[in-house]
């Protein structure tokens, strides 16, 4: 068995990003912020996916995280990045725990569809409530950091990178633990898990809450990076679809995969939009089809191959 070099690799990547981020052009930094922030949600979905569950409604948590930030900003004028992030995670954790009691009894397409229903309920509420910004959403003011209000995006960028690193390391540790192993175990055979004396429902619930919190953090960080929240691109079913899409694109192979996949998706969309404005959806859709057909392991499998060739 070869030694797992994920954590050293991630740490090096963090250092490179944090230092390199100081020198890269703003637009690239933006893309990386969006990409890495979303990657947190993908990380959560990856845990679920390994359990055999796919949520078509995780935009619920993405949206909740983002809207938590916006509402804190608008109603209470709270701009501190850590408070915003913390509250977003608390809120999504709370909602995730509650819904988890229901969703943990669902599998396959039913899990996907019930998640979808819950997220669309939130969508319906947001779109129709003027006080929640209806279709327009809200503008989010730039974050401050422990009462420092630095110029530019670099501090937020570093926060996203560090938080991403932390999440990846924790998830990696989790996947290697017994609880983590329960992902594959539950997907493969629930009956056996129950007869080993472990509650499948509890295992799923834990994973669900984890993914909810990660997705909430993703939403919160995206809202801060972007300065805008709105229901159509953050809570609608297409947003959930996009998250699943990026999960497939990234591949389940490693906790590093979401970061790579998500950034590539961001760049792909930007360039497609710039170069073929009339057919950018076609490019994105075509890429998805190509990955499903030719890269079942996602983009990560290309990296894995490259890494192997290196040795």
């Amino acid at each position: 068995m070869s030694r797992d070099r994920t954590i050293p690799g991630l740490t090096v990547a963090l250092a490179v990003c944090a230092i390199g981020g100081y020198f890269i052009p703003d637009w690239l930094m933006n893309q990386m912020m969006f990409g890495f922030a979303r990657a947190l949600a993908i990380l959560g979905l990856l845990v679920l996916w390994r359990t055999g569950l796919v949520s078509f409604g995780h935009a619920l948590y993405f949206g909740l995280g983002a809207y938590a930030v916006a509402l804190l900003d608008i109603n209470l004028g709270i701009s501190d990045a850590f408070v915003r992030l913390g509250v977003a995670m608390l809120v999504t954790g709370g909602v995730g725990t509650l819904l988890g009691f229901i969703l943990r009894n669902y599998r396959d397409i039913f899990f996907a569809m019930l998640s979808l229903a819950f997220s669309m309920v939130l969508y319906g509420i947001l779109v129709k409530t003027e006080a929640l910004g209806s279709t327009d959403g809200f503008t989010v003011s730039p974050p401050t950091f422990l009462s420092a209000a630095p110029e530019g995006k670099y501090p937020l960028f570093v926060l996203i990178c560090v938080f991403g690193w932390l999440a990846a390391v924790l998830v990696q540790g989790y996947l290697r633990s017994t609880l983590g192993r329960l992902t594959t175990a539950v997907r493969d055979n629930e009956i056996r898990v129950e007869y080993l004396g472990y509650s499948v429902a509890r295992a799923i619930h834990i994973k669900y809450v984890m993914s909810a919190v990660l997705t909430g953090a993703a939403g919160a960080l995206t809202a801060m990076a972007l300065g805008q929240v709105d229901p159509d691109s953050m809570v609608n079913w297409t947003a959930s679809g996009e998250l699943v899409f990026v999960t497939i694109l990234s591949g389940p192979g490693s906790v590093a995969a979401p970061f790579i996949g998500s950034l590539i998706f961001e760049l792909l969309r930007t360039y497609a939009f710039e170069l073929v404005p009339h057919a950018w959806q076609m490019i994105v859709g075509g890429t998805l089809l190509a990955v499903i057909f030719f890269l079942p392991g996602g983009i990560w499998s290309l990296f894995a191959r490259a890494l192997k060739a290196d040795k």
Binding site: W49, V54, F56, I102, N105, Y106, D108, I109, F110, A112, M113, L114, L116, A117, F118, M120, V121, Y123, G124, I125, V127, K128, T129, I191, W237, T238, G241, V244, F245, I248, H278, A279, W280, Q281, M282, V284, G285, G286, T287, L288, L289, I292, F293
Partner: protein
């Protein structure tokens, strides 16, 4: 009283529309276990094709009643061609794969077909008002209704009866049950599964296209107008029980009526109500109102 009649008629009309679209979705899911997002594309393509040709023929001076023929022909043509190409070209290679991957593959294809619409038909909306204008309007319950909209109810009923007959009164329908459960064994039992799949998929596609084509005369057919329909159909299909035709019927009626009530009485909750029902139904009946049997595991 007036309001009640209006709500019921509005609701039924909307239900009928939903039913025509979602029954195709449920059939495809029921038989092939594919939650087909490209169903939205069938709908859109059906609508565009019908609207385009109704416009063309009307310009050439053909009688307006010919519009109905165009609607039917467009639905069949679009459904057959797209359905055949997609099943043979894409899905056939995917049956062994994860359900979710198939959903996403159809999602990818949906994106591709959306932009293809732009390339083929351009960005301008199409209007195919002729069939609707032809049938004029009547006054029911104190308000004017277009007769065309009411015929939707008849069309939906016809579709329902045909589907019910096909599934319950023909050998073909019974064979479907076998194919649904076990593709491979069905093959061994002498069923031409490949053909069953193609035909089923095409039927689903034709119904999706019919939904679009039939609604085309009442709307301005614009790019992207299938996006919301598909998620509503998901709701209908899930409420009714995925793969169940009576389920799709009941689901459509529930959603259509509730939406009508909301729009009339409490417009703020219109969007929310559909998915709230979906969530409630799922919570109390996890597999929808008409759930299929499950195999014994141990």
């Amino acid at each position: 009283m007036e309001t009640l009649i209006t709500i019921i008629l509005d609701g039924l009309q909307y239900s009928s529309y939903l039913f025509i679209v979602s029954v195709g979705l449920t059939i495809t899911f029921g038989v092939m276990k594919i939650l087909n997002v490209t169903h939205a594309s069938f709908y859109t393509w059906g609508a565009y094709t019908a609207a385009f040709f109704i416009g063309q023929f009307s310009e050439m001076g053909w009688p307006d009643a010919f519009g109905f023929v165009i609607i039917l022909v467009s639905a069949i043509a679009v459904g057959t061609v797209l359905g055949y190409l997609i099943e043979r070209g894409l899905l056939r290679r995917m049956y062994e794969r994860d359900e979710v991957l198939i959903v996403l593959a159809t999602f990818g294809l949906f994106l591709v077909l959306e932009d293809l619409i732009l390339l083929v038909f351009g960005v301008n909306p199409y209007f195919a008002y002729q069939p609707m204008a032809l049938l004029e309007s009547v006054e029911i319950g104190g308000i004017t209704r277009d007769v065309y909209g009411l015929t939707l109810i008849g069309v939906a009923a016809l579709v329902a009866v045909l589907c019910w007959y096909g599934l319950n009164r023909t050998n073909w329908g019974k064979l479907l049950t076998a194919v649904i459960y076990d593709r491979e064994m069905s093959e061994a039992m002498g069923i031409n599964v490949t053909r069953v799949y193609v035909v089923t998929f095409i039927i689903g596609a034709v119904l999706g296209a019919l939904g679009g084509a039939y609604i085309a005369p009442t709307v301005s057919v614009t790019p992207g107008f299938g996006v919301d329909v598909i998620v509503l159909s998901f709701a209908v299909v899930v409420i009714g029980g995925m793969g169940s035709i009576p389920g799709a019927l009941i689901g459509s009626i529930v959603v259509g009526l509730m939406r009508a009530v909301a729009v009339h009485e409490l417009p703020e909750v219109e969007l929310f109500v559909v998915f709230a029902i979906m969530a409630v139904v799922l919570v109390f009946r996890p597999e929808g109102l008409f759930a299929p049997a499950k195999p014994r595991k141990i």
